[in-house]
Subunit: 373 residues, 4 copies
C-alpha cells in the first residue's frame, strides 16, 4: 500500500536513512510539458532548512527524472523520479532500536513488521513525503495545464491562536482568491500564514521551541476552478478520496470539508447553499458552506478543506516509554534538534495530496483524457 | 464506484424509489455463523420510523439473503442480500425534475449523468445506506466473532449543545467502556445520546422541527479490542481508510481521530501518549490522544473517531433555487415531512462503515484469514 | 474476487441451488438505452435446454432488472439484475458431499473453504455464468451503441474434427465478416458451428453421449470495429485482460490471440503484418496474424481469439475418487443426465467475457465516457 | 497500468534508451533474506549477450537496491531497484520516427499516445522486462523460502521442431522433476532446451539467422509444491491471473494450462484426473491433465503451462510499411543486428511472471502472511 490512486497513481518508496527516496507516477497522460524544475520547485517548498522552524539536516533534495519524458513532454509511460539521500547520520538513532518514541510510529512498525529500519523513523519518517511531493508536483501541473485549477494551502491557526485570514472571512472568498499577492504573502511567512496576527503565532512557536516543546496548527486548503461533476457517488466520493489522501499524512488528526464541524451547529436553513444564475448564465451558489462538494460530487464552488495537524512528536523533553527488549519502562531523551512545528512544511505535501486525489478522480471521471492531452 | 474495500468488499445498489436495494458482500471468509436476523437487527436500527425524529415513510425494510450461506454459515462465496421497496410514492417528486434542492446532490447528479432518477433523491438518497448497513452487519459479526471487537456510536452534540458524555470525559474511558448498560442507554434515547443533558438536545430538535427547520450534530464512534498493527503505512493508513469510509456518508462534513482539531492546540508534551507495561506485561498507553492510531497503524488503544453531521438539507421552509430547464431562479417548497435530524439514524450506518473498513484492513493485514475461519 | 473490471465492473453472485443468481453492473455510463429484453436475449442463448446437447434442467432463467434504469435508459448507477432459481433439486447431490467429482472444482472448494455448498457444484457450477452473461449483455449493448463493435463466437473444432470455417480461411476475413447470414447459420446449428462439416461433429457428440462420455472443442471469437489504441502497455494489455477474462470460465484450458501457437512455427517474415494505406487513407494491415493486438494495444484489425474448451467433467461412466471423510478410495457414479458437451452453450458466455473486458478497457482508455453517453 | 498484483505488487518503469529502468516491489512481507545478488542472478539470465542468439548490445545490467532492505532482510516497505542504461545509441533509431516497424508496437503507441519515445521501441522494448525480472527474482525467493516452490521454464519447440522433453512425456513427471541436473542442462543450452534434439533446433535458428529472418517457439513452465487452494473462484482464478501475467509479455500469442488445446480432443473419461490417497494419506491425482488447476484453484498437482512465443519482429529483411507523416507506403530496412529468436531470453521473464502471480495470490489467499514472515 505504497500506491495511491486508480488511474493517476503514485507509488512512493524510500526511507529516511536509505540510499534514496522517490516515486513512480503512472497514468499521467502524454503531451504534458514537464521538467525536473517543475518538481524541484515543490520539493524546495518542503525541504528541511526551509525556514527557522525546520530541522537543520542538510539535504539538497535534488530530483532526477529517470523515465517517462521525451523531448520535454510526458509520453504516457511511468515517470520515475529519484532523490538521493546525502546527509543521513545513522549512528544517531541506534539507541531508539528498542525504545519506541511516544507519538511516533516506532512501536506500530516494530510490532507489525518485526524487522524495522528505525533510523530516523525509516519508512514512517516525514522525509518519505518526498515521494508524495513528486507526485503532487506533476498532478498540480496537470490540473493547471488542463483546467487552470489552482490549489493553495496556508496556516489558519497555530496552537490556540486563530488567524484572521481564512476562506470564510476573506474578501477574496471567490474564484479569484488565489493570486500572486496572496501566494507571496504565504510563501514569505515562516509559518506560511497570511493572517495579520501571524507574528503572534511565530512568537508562540519560538516560545515552545525554547521550552523544548512543539506545537500544532490548522491548515486551510483551497482548490479553484474544479469543474462540476468530479467525484463518484456512494464509495468514491470526492470528499472521501480527499480525506483519505490527506489523512495519509502522519501528523493529520482531522479533516473538514466546508463548514466542517461548524456545520453541526447550523440550522438547515443556514447550512443549505442556494443556487442562482450569474450574469453569464452560469450556475452559482450564494454561499459555499458545503465547501464545494454535494453528494460526494463537486458542485462548481471552490473546494474548502481544513486540516488539523498535531504538534511534532519529536520533542527534546524527557519522556517515559518502554524498552521492548527488556520489557521495562524507562526514560527517553530524543537527541538532536527537531522541527518545533511541522505545519508550514506539510502545506506543500497536503496541496500535493489534494492535487493527486483530484487528478485521479478527474481522469476517472472523463474530465482529463487518460492517455493523451 | 459502488464498491468499497479490497479484500472485504461491499457492492451496494438501488435507488430510493426503485424496485429494491441491496448489497453484495464479497470476501467474507467461510464458516462465520450468519443469519438474516443478524442483518435485520442492524437494518431496524436505521429504519424510517425508528423514532419521533424520523420520516414517517412506512418501510418494513425486510432483508432476504439470496446467496453465500449454507447450513447457517458463510461459504466464502458472495453474500447477496436484498430489501424490496414497498412504500415508494413517485408522483410526489415530479416537480423536482428541474429544480435542484439546495444542500442536496440533485444538481451534481443531474449535471454529471444527464439521465437522473430524481425520485426521492434516487441513488443519492439516504435510503441507499441500506446497502452499507447490510455490509456493516456482516462486518460487525465477523469482527466480534474473530476478535471480540465492539463498535459503538453515540451522539455527543446536537446543534451547539455539547453533551457531557464522551470518550475523553467518561469514567468508562477504558477497554470495558462498551457494555450492556451504555448500549441500552443509547438505544433507548431518541437521539442515541447517553449524555445527561440529552433532553435539552431533544427540545432543541423539536423546536427546529416546529419551525420547519433541521439540525445537525456530532457523533463519536469507539472501537474496542482492535489489535496492534491494523492499517498500512503510507497510503492505506487505518485513519485514511476510516475517514474515507465515513466521509462516504452524504451528511458528513468532518472527521477527527483522537483529539482531532483539539490536537492542534496541544503542545507536543501534552499530545504524546507515553507507553508502559501493565500488570500483565501488555503494552499500554497512559493516555489515548492519538485515538488508537499512530503512523497510520493501530496501536492497541481504542479507536476514537468524531464525526460532524450537517443538518438534514430537506427542510419545509421556502428556498431559492434555479430551474435548469428554463434557466431561471425560482422558489422551491419541498413538500411532505422530513427527518428534522439525521444524526441518530446515521449512527448505525457510521458504525457499519467503521466495521467495513476494519474488516477489510484486518483481512488484508493477516489478522483474519481471507478464506476460512 | 467475484468482481471483474476496474471502470466497468461486474460483481456476480449466486449458487447453482441457492435462491437466485445475479450480477451488479457498475460503471456503465448513463443514457444507454437498455431493457430487460436486451439481457434476456443473451440469457436465452446460454439457457439449459437450448439444444439437444444441453441438460434438461427446466429453468426459465427470467431476468429482472432491479436498479440503475430510469425511463428506459441507464442512469450511471449500478444495474442490479436477478434470476431466481425455480427448478433446483438439492436431494440429488447429497451423496457428493464427501466424494469430489474428478475434473470438477469440488475438492478445491472443499479444501479451500471448509464449508462448501456442494449442491450442483454450488458456486463452481456453470450456472453461475448467468451473472457473466448479464454483464456481457450490457457490455455488448454499450460497445455496439457507442462504436458499432460486433462480437461473435462459433465452434471451429469438436474433438479432433477441425471445421472448415474459421477466420483465417474464411472469404469473409474482413471487416464485414459478421453479418446476419453468418449469425443465423451459427445460431441455428446445435453446436453453433458454421462449418460445412458440422454434421460430422454432431454425430461425434451423439456417439460420445451414447457411450456416457463427453467431448470438448475449440471456439473462435471475433470482435469487429475495435478502434486503434485499446489496451494498456505493460501490465494491462488488451490480450492480457482478454485472456484473463476468458480463462475465468471453468472449462477453458487454452487461449490464443491471432495465429497463437501456430505463430511459433512461422518465420518473422511470415508472421509480421505489413501496413498500408487503403483507398480512404486509413491505415490497414495486409494480414492479421497478430489477431488485432500489437504490444498489448489494438491495432485496428479485427480481434481474433481461439479458446480451448475441455470435455464436460460430469460423465455418467463410473470413476474412481476419494472419500475425504473416510480417507478411502471409492467408485463414483454421478447420477442424472448431463451436457455431453459445453462448447455451444459457453459461446455466449465467452462473447460476454470479451465484451466485458473490452468495455472496461475502452472506458479506462478514454474511448467511452465513464459517466455519460 | 505499469503495476501488476494486488497484495504483492510490481510497478515497473523505464524505456529502452532512457536513463535507467527499474521496479518498485510493494507488499513483500518483512524478514525475507534478500540481497542484490538474488536479483542480479536472474537479470543475468535475461541479459543481452547471454548466448550466440542474443543482441550484442553491451549492457552489464547491474542492479542496485535503493530501499526496503535492512540488515539483509526485507522490512515490509517497498523495495526499489534500479538498472542504469549504459550503452544506448539513440541516433540509430531516428529513421523509425514515422515508419512503424511491422509486428512491433510502434504504431499502436504512436496513435495511442502521440508523443512516443521511439528509440529502441521505448517503453515497448523487450528491455522493459528488466522490471519484471526484478519483481520475479523477489517473488521466486519468497515462494521458495516460504513453501519450497520451484519454478522452471524450458523450450519445448522451435519453429516446427517439437522437442522430446516435456512434462507429459518426461520420466520426471512428478514432484521431483525440477532438479540440479535438469536445471544445468537447460541453462547450458543456448536455447534453454533440455530435449535430445536441441541441436536440430539450434541449426534451424542459425539458418534463419543467415537468411536475415527470425523464428519463434514454445516454452513450458512448471511450478512444483504449490499448495492446494491457491486462486480465487470466478474472477480471480489461478489460471486467469497466470494467463494475464504471461500474456503481458509482448511476444506471447498463446497460453495453455495442462493439456490445453489438446484437451479439446480428449473425451471426458480421458481428461478427468482421478483422485487417490498415496501411502502418506495425501490426496493425489493419478494424472495431471488439468495442469494443477481445477475450478480456478490449485489442486496440489504441479502447475503446467505452455506458452507460444512468436518470432522476433525485428528482421533485417526489407519490409513494406507506411510513413505516417507523409501518408505514403515505403520500404523499411531495420538496421543493426537483432536477436533471431527471443525464446531462450524470455524464459526467465516468464518464470518471473508466474512467480509474481503466484506470490500475489498466495498472499491474498492467506498462504503467506502479508506483513511479516
Amino acid at each position: 500500500m505504497n500506491t495511491i490512486g486508480k488511474s493517476f497513481r503514485i507509488t512512493a518508496w524510500g526511507e529516511s536513512h536509505g540510499k534514496a527516496l522517490g516515486a513512480v507516477v503512472d497514468g499521467c497522460p502524454s503531451n504534458l510539458p514537464l521538467t525536473g524544475e517543475d518538481i524541484q520547485k515543490e520539493l524546495n517548498r518542503r525541504r528541511p532548512g526551509y525556514s527557522l522552524f525546520s530541522t537543520p539536516r542538510k539535504e539538497g533534495d535534488k530530483v532526477e527524472i529517470l523515465s517517462g519524458i521525451f523531448e520535454g513532454k510526458t509520453t504516457g509511460t511511468p515517470i520515475s523520479a529519484i532523490v538521493y539521500n546525502t546527509n543521513q547520520k545513522s549512528k544517531d538513532y541506534s539507541h531508539l532500536k528498542n525504545t519506541p518514541r511516544p507519538g511516533h510510529a516506532d512501536l506500530s512498525y516494530k510490532l507489525k513488521y518485526g524487522n524495522y529500519d528505525y533510523r530516523g523513523g525509516g519508512r514512517s519518517s516525514g522525509r518519505t513525503t518526498i515521494g508524495h511531493t513528486i507526485g503532487g508536483a506533476i498532478a498540480k501541473k496537470l490540473l493547471d495545464y488542463t483546467h487552470n485549477i489552482k490549489i493553495i494551502g496556508y496556516t489558519t491557526k497555530i496552537g490556540n491562536i486563530e488567524g484572521d485570514f481564512n476562506y470564510y472571512n476573506s474578501i477574496e472568498n471567490n474564484e479569484k482568491m488565489i493570486n500572486e499577492e496572496l501566494i507571496n504573502k504565504i510563501e514569505n511567512n515562516p509559518l506560511r500564514c497570511p493572517s495579520s496576527n501571524a507574528d503572534e503565532m511565530k512568537d508562540f512557536v519560538l516560545n515552545a521551541m525554547e521550552n523544548k516543546n512543539s506545537v500544532g496548527g490548522v491548515i486551510e486548503l483551497i482548490a479553484l476552478n474544479v469543474p462540476v461533476g468530479v467525484g463518484n457517488p456512494i464509495f468514491g466520493k470526492l470528499n472521501g478520496e480527499l480525506s483519505n489522501a490527506i489523512m495519509n499524512i502522519n501528523a493529520v488528526k482531522g479533516v473538514e470539508i466546508g463548514r466542517g464541524f461548524e456545520s453541526a451547529e447550523l440550522l438547515g436553513s443556514e447550512m443549505n447553499d442556494e443556487y442562482y444564475y450569474d450574469e453569464n448564465n452560469n450556475i452559482k451558489l450564494k454561499t459555499n458552506n458545503c465547501g464545494g462538494v454535494l453528494g460526494g460530487i463537486s458542485c462548481g464552488a471552490p473546494l474548502v478543506i481544513r486540516v488539523a495537524v498535531k504538534p511534532t512528536p519529536s520533542i527534546s523533553a524527557v519522556q517515559s516509554t518502554i524498552n521492548i527488549e527488556n520489557k521495562t519502562t524507562e526514560n527517553l531523551e530524543i537527541g538532536g534538534r527537531h522541527d518545533p512545528i511541522i505545519v508550514p512544511r506539510v502545506i506543500p505535501v497536503l496541496e500535493s495530496m489534494v492535487a493527486i486525489a483530484l487528478s485521479d478522480l478527474m481522469i476517472r471521471g472523463g474530465f482529463i483524457h487518460p492517455c493523451k492531452l
